[in-house]
Structures are given as C-alpha cells and as structure tokens.
C-alpha cells in the first residue's frame, strides 16, 4: 500500500477525491458534454481543471461515484523506487487498473494479496481503502476478486 499520505490543500482540485476516499467512496470526474455527445460515461482521472478529451472545464465536469470494480490492464514490477518509504518493500507490483465504467479511466495499485510478478492481466479487481500512516488519509487500493 502507499506509505505516504496525500495532503491536499484546501481548494485543491484533488481534495474532493481524497475526502471521498476517507468515506470509502471512489469518485472521479465525469465530463457531461462528452458523455452526452458520445452516449458513454466519459470519466477522467487524475482530476484536471478541464476535460482531456474536449477541453471544457467549469460546469462541464462533475464528480461521479463509480462502483469500485475494474480490471487489470497492464503492470510493472518496481525494483528501484525513488520513494524512500517504499524502498524496504521492493520489489513491488504496480498494476494499472481500468475502471468498469470507462476503461480509459485508470488508477494504480500495488495489488494487495497478489504475489510479486504474478499479476493476472485481465482479472477483475475491487477497490479497498487503506489508511496511510502519516495522517490517516485513506487511499484507494485494489485486490483481485476473479
């Protein structure tokens, strides 16, 4: 699990995401014009001031709660992390998770309970929220469920 605590400043675009994580809810941005135009749920993560697809901001983007399921898209095995807190745990899985509602919307995971370098690409995963030590801020992690 991540060892550093995210510490968003008041007013930071990321703060709603982290506040929701503390309530065990996973939210990402949804672009309303793109969703209407393409008949899809167009999500984006990490949060941005504007939609990466259409470039609109302000009222075009809303926070949207997703179901917390996804699939493993690809991965790497981290042997030489720059982050001091992670170095004792190396090597580490770092998997790319595609969200069920929009596979282009992706998050990262150390894949709780999955042995290092035995990552089942395409497997279904579900989100779990883990507490980081410095501040107690929760972060979304993922575990394989099928």
């Amino acid at each position: 699990m991540p060892k550093q605590s995210p510490a968003p400043a008041e007013g930071d675009i990321t703060k709603p995401f982290w506040d929701a994580a503390n309530e065990d809810r996973l939210i990402v941005q949804r672009c309303l014009p793109c969703t209407d135009l393409r008949g899809l749920t167009v999500l984006q993560f990490p949060p941005e001031p504007t939609c990466v697809w259409c470039g609109l901001g302000d009222d075009a983007l809303e926070w949207y709660e997703v179901c917390g399921r996804g699939t493993i898209d690809t991965y790497g095995i981290l042997h030489d992390a720059a982050q001091r807190q992670l170095q004792p745990d190396q090597p580490l899985n770092v998997a790319v998770i595609s969200l069920e509602e929009d596979p282009r919307c992706q998050m990262l995971s150390h894949l709780r309970d999955t042995p290092v370098d035995e990552i089942p690409v395409g497997a279904t995963v579900e989100v779990v929220f883990e507490v980081t030590p410095a501040t107690g801020q929760k972060v979304p992690e993922w575990r394989v469920v099928g």
Binding site: Q4, S5, A7, D12, F17, P46, D80, V121, A134, V139
Partner: protein, 438 residues
C-alpha cells in the same frame, strides 16, 4: 531583447497540411559539441554556460561563417537532466562572476537563457532574433527550421545543453517526505521516470507474445554505434561494449525495463548552424536540407498506454512523410529517439521502417541486420543508449550521415534521406532531412 517561447503556429501538428511550404529551402550546415562528463565538477570551465559557448563556437567554425553573420538563436532554456538545484543550496558566486551574469545567478549553471548567451558571446553581434523551443533539441530544430523558412532569420544557431549535478535525482525532496501534495498520483505507488513506459512495454509483450530479451540486439547495436561516436559520453569516458548476456542479466529498474533500457544523465551541449539553402552553398560543409518538420502533442494521463503510443507514432509518420513528399521506402536510415530504449519500438512500427508492421519490431531486431552495414540501419547514432542522455545524438548523426562525414558510423548504403526526432512516442517534434533539396 526578450526571448519568447515559440508560438503554436510554428509547429506543424495537424494532419492534412500537405507538403511543407519551405521544403528543401532550409539547411543544416555546422555542428558543434562540447566535451561530455558525468556530472558538473563545480568549475566555471565546465558549467553548462561554458559548454554552450564551446559548442556554439564550434558550430560556427564548422560552418565556416563569421560569427557576426549569425542573426538568429533558437534554444531550450531548460538544461536539467532531472537534477535540480535544491532551495537553499549555496550558489557558487565565483562561477557566476566568471561570466557576465543575468539577474538570475543560476543562469549558466542550472539553466540557460538566450540573454546569458548573448552577454557572454560578444562576437554574436548580429543576432536580432531569439526564440525558445523548449524541451529538447527536437523542438528547437523545428522552431529554427520554421523561423528560417518564414524569414525571421537567415543564419541561425540551434542550441541544447544538459547539466547534471551530484546525487541521484528524484530521490529526496517529495520522495522522502511522509506527506505529498494531493496531485502526486503516481508517486504514491512508486512510479518514476520509466514506469509508465514499462507498463506500455509490458502491454506490448503481452499483446504480441514477445519477451524482454528480444531487445538485446537493439541494445548491443546501439551501444556499439555509440562507441563510434567520438562526441559521445561512452566513447569519451567508458569505451566498453556490452554483450547480449550483459543486457539480459542486468538488474531490473522497473520490470520489464532494466538498467540498459535507461539512459545515463550527463553534462553535454550541442549546437547546429542552420541557414537558407542559398546561403548554405557558400559555407564550409555540405548542406543537409530539411524536407519537413512536424509535431505530435501527447495527451498525458496516468498511463499513456500502448494504443496511444501506436496511434501517435502512426500519425507522426503520416505527417512526416506527407510534409516531406516521401514514403517509408525513401528512408536511408532512421534516428528516432530511444531514451527509454523501448520508445524506439513504437517509432519503427509507426514509421513502417523496413516494411515492418505492428507487433514485428522485436522480431526485426532479432532476425534482420540492423547495423550500419545493413540494408535498414537502426539508430546509427546509438542514441541516448549509446552515448548518454542528451536527446541530440540522433540529430547530429543524421546531419553527419547526410554530409558523408559520420566517420566510423557512416552507413554502408548511400545516405540520402533520414528522419530524427522525439522525445516521446506519444508526442514530440520530428524532422525529415535530405542530402539534396529534393
């Protein structure tokens, strides 16, 4: 003179623009390189400003022009390889005051402005056009080419420098704190330079049923070509070839990328002298004509992804070929970017180099002669892999190949048209060069 970043209008980043309006009317003539070193030694003689002056003077002399005849300078003001001057670290005023400083004491040490260059190269008395092409030499080249074509300058220096300081960059600072800013999405999970490229390479290996070790011939070939590059870091400092076994057994950094898939940060500077095709006829070296330049800009997400890399490189190829009025089979060689090495795979497939298609590049490395003696030379410069992190060996080599003065690296087949550019498969700046104006 205030120097601005190049406006968006100078980049050919859309498809359907047709043949470049200045095709064959802009030429590269002079090349200059500073010596290389692993890190800055703290002396004025080897600071990034001094290296830049050295490279610029060599490029001017190489072209055989009077410095006062130069009227343009395009460069990147950023020079870091990843090493940053930590806030509060003392500034070596003896180095600052060894030159004519600007208002920023780190100018010439950990960054480089056009103002600093002009203050310290009084012989450049004719410059009335300066512009920044930020990021790397690939960007500065396309800006300089467009500037000359548009008549903003007629004899223009193109400059890129890199400084490297003590310590391991990316370590310390935010990476050593207990808390991080809320937007450090990758950092929380330990991503670093190369991690997302490892994701993409793993996706490629999974999709096409290949394995990491199939990169070995490319790495060995690039290292070999690098040792034939007298201006390069390894030729100057660590002239040892590596074997397939060295590569395959190297330690992982972020699997499936190992130590040799990374590049080594160094200190180095390169400069070129560009001019109009007409003026080039009177200069000291054979002109290398620019047939086209183009740009692809990436959409950055958490993971850039294989499909994005493939679609972007294919778009880059279409723009490059169309604007130059050539096809893939016209390329005598290619010098696309390689730092990280796996970038090269996407470029070659996107370019359809040697007739390859998606999913074939690793088999191409394994089964074809990719050396400078073969029919389809791959990265004759050796790139960052062969000579260290500068993102400019590919351009220097392309110019020298087409001038017929690449020395021991000269490809066996006639060098008539080449392509170079980078940095990222998902986006960068690219140039098509020719030994004739076309």
């Amino acid at each position: 003179m205030t120097t601005q970043r190049a406006p968006a209008s100078m980049y050919r980043n859309r498809e359907g623009l047709g043949v470049w309006e200045h095709r064959g009317k802009v030429a590269a003539v002079g090349v200059g390189h500073s010596p290389t070193s692993r890190r800055w030694d703290g002396t004025a003689e080897n600071c990034i400003g001094a290296l830049a002056i050295d490279a610029l003077r060599k490029a001017i002399a190489d072209a055989g022009v009077d410095p006062s005849a130069v009227d343009g300078l395009v460069m990147d003001p950023g020079t870091t390889t990843g090493a940053h001057w930590e806030e509060g670290d003392p500034i070596p005023m003896d180095v600052v005051n060894a030159f004519n400083p600007t208002d920023d004491p780190l100018d010439g040490i950990a960054k480089l402005s056009a103002e600093w260059i002009l203050k310290n190269m009084p012989e450049l008395s004719g410059i009335n056009f300066t512009m920044y092409g930020p990021g790397c030499m690939s960007n500065a080249i396309v800006v300089a080419a467009q500037a000359i074509g548009d008549g903003m300058a007629h004899t223009c220096l193109v400059l890129k420098g890199w400084h490297n300081l003590a310590g391991r960059y990316y370590q310390g600072g935010a990476a050593a704190m207990d808390t991080v800013a809320g937007n450090a999405w990758g950092q929380l999970w330990g991503t670093r330079a190369g991690t997302t490229d490892a994701f993409t390479f793993q996706e490629y290996l999974h999709k096409y049923g290949k394995n990491h070790d199939m990169m070995a011939n490319f790495i060995v070939n690039s290292k070999k070509n690098g040792l034939l590059f007298p201006e390069g870091f390894f030729a100057q400092n660590r002239p040892d070839e590596i074997t397939r076994e060295d590569y395959i057994n190297a330690r992982w950094i972020v699997k499936p990328l190992n130590l040799f898939d990374m590049d080594i940060p160094i200190m180095a500077t390169a400069a070129y002298l560009f001019t109009t095709a007409e003026r080039a006829q009177d200069m000291a070296q054979n002109p290398v004509y620019i047939l086209n330049h183009c740009t692809t800009r990436p959409k950055f997400g958490l993971n850039q992804g294989l499909e994005n890399a493939m679609l972007s490189t294919e778009a880059t190829a279409r723009k490059s070929y169309t604007g130059a009025g050539i096809t893939a089979s016209d390329l005598s060689f290619e010098n696309m970017y390689d730092g990280f090495t796996v970038f090269h795979n996407h470029y070659l497939e996107g370019l359809r180099y040697g007739g390859m298609k998606r999913g074939e590049v690793l088999d191409f490395y394994e089964s074809e002669d990719i050396s400078i003696s073969g029919p389809n030379p791959v990265s004759p410069s050796g790139g960052n892999c062969g000579s260290g992190r500068t993102r400019f060996w590919m351009h220097t080599d392309t110019i020298q190949q087409l001038q017929g003065r690449a020395g021991a690296r000269q490809i066996s087949k006639p060098a008539e048209i080449g392509i170079s550019g980078g940095p990222m498969p998902q986006g960068g700046d690219f140039t098509v060069w020719s030994s004739t104006p076309g």
